[in-house]
Amino acid sequence: MITKTVSNVQEACEGIQDRMTFMLGGFGLSGIPENCIAELVRRNVKGVTCISNNAGVDDFGLGLLLQKKQIKKMISSYVGENAEFERQMLSGELEVDLIPQGTLAQRCLAAQSGIPAFFTPAGYGTEVAEGKEVREFNGKMHIMERAFKADFAFVKAWKGDTAGNLIFKGTARNFNPNMCGAATITVAEVEELVPAGTLDPNQVHIPGIFVQRIFQGTAYEKRIEQLTVRKRG
């Protein structure tokens, strides 16, 4: 067995530098790598590019990096929940590349699986297609999109083992599995780290080969963005 365990988030983030490109898992605030984000804030790394479906909220998630003006560029599909984001974007402080959500996921998957580019119909005829190669397949127009290139991928899983195998929970799975192995170094933080041999191999979502560093996360806040409930009876 090859061991991927590191002792804490500081060790997991070893090698991080200014101006790097990071992938961060999560949808809204669900399944975000809370420990790694806190470490990026603590290290005060600057001028970074973040590939993440959303940009957090003003005081949590990637919003924490935005507050400290650590992010140079965001690549996302939806950023509607963050007023500071909107302010920095409209003032020109923050570079933003908004791309379709399925394209974002597939560009991660392409990077993970060694596919340099692919064609998708999403965005054809819109400003997303500007400057991109267009081709017709089966009578339908498609645009060419490229695999991402990133230095670090930060993902959050429910359970993981010392070999780097990961299991996700509910809709906290989202972009996390697609980002594993899609960057030079993939860091996985987990709610429960167990010895190799403990997880049922049939239940593993992401094999450890896609993960370079894994650590036991701490103090998860797991904030709910939109609490919607119904009354009993």
């Binding site: 669900s30 950023v79 379709p100 809709t171 119904r230």
Partner: protein, 218 residues
């Protein structure tokens, strides 16, 4: 006069057939789930990674690891499944999802839709809307017929940045049900008590009226 948002959703629910996998957008489309008859076998997909989405949880049973694409807490019904984002959009791009219902700021008579950006004013992003409209065979737009300023949202040509081209087949508004084909809106049904003349005046694009137009049934 005209329908409220729940009534629009109620009318659209009639378009949901047994055996359908359905993706519901944020806003009026989310309400459609409340009006689908119990004897219709349907599964709702939310593009953040669930098939078989159920109603909101009971108070105290909410789970931060179980949300929909609107970031609302939800539940999973028996037979539900969870998956990653790439798999979710394989379902959408691969046309495994049978029906997409979404909102819009503008729709044009050639089926173009704009719903993600008002330059200089609102920049939230397209989320999954561009993937959905580019691939779905069956797209219904749920929206109000006019905007807050009273201007028609059914246009000859969209003025806002597009989300997709030649993709919308049907529009249900507070005033009417319309089909889009041959570069025109074809009036199929009108809201109870709303005249054809009134709908015509609220529609900037070409509206084709053939024969008597029935009132919507719920």
């Amino acid at each position: 006069m005209g329908l409220d948002k729940n009534q629009i959703a109620q009318r659209i629910a009639k378009e949901v057939k047994s055996g359908y996998y359905v993706n519901l957008g944020i806003g009026i489309p989310t309400l459609v789930a409340n009006f689908v008859r119990d004897d219709i076998e349907v599964e709702f997909q939310s593009e953040n990674g669930i098939l078989g989405m159920g109603p909101f949880p009971f108070e105290g049973e909410e789970d931060p690891d179980l949300i929909n694409a609107g970031k609302q807490t939800i539940t999973a019904l028996p037979g539900a499944s969870f998956f990653d984002s790439a798999t979710s959009f394989s379902m959408i791009r691969g046309q495994h999802v049978d029906l997409t219902i979404l909102g819009a700021m503008e729709v044009s008579q050639n089926g173009d839709i704009a719903n993600w950006k008002i330059p200089g004013k609102m920049v939230k992003g397209m989320g999954g809307a561009m993937d959905l409209v580019a691939s779905a065979e069956n797209i219904i737009v749920a929206m109000m017929h006019t905007n807050r300023a009273g201007e028609s949202k059914l246009l000859k040509t969209c003025s806002l940045p597009l989300t997709g081209v030649h993709c919308v087949k049907k529009v249900v508004t507070d005033l009417a049900v319309m089909e889009i084909r041959d570069n025109a809106f074809h009036l199929l049904e009108r809201a109870p008590g709303v005249s054809v003349e009134f709908i015509k005046n609220a529609t900037e694009g070409d509206l084709i009226v053939a024969g008597d137009i029935p009132e919507m049934q719920f």
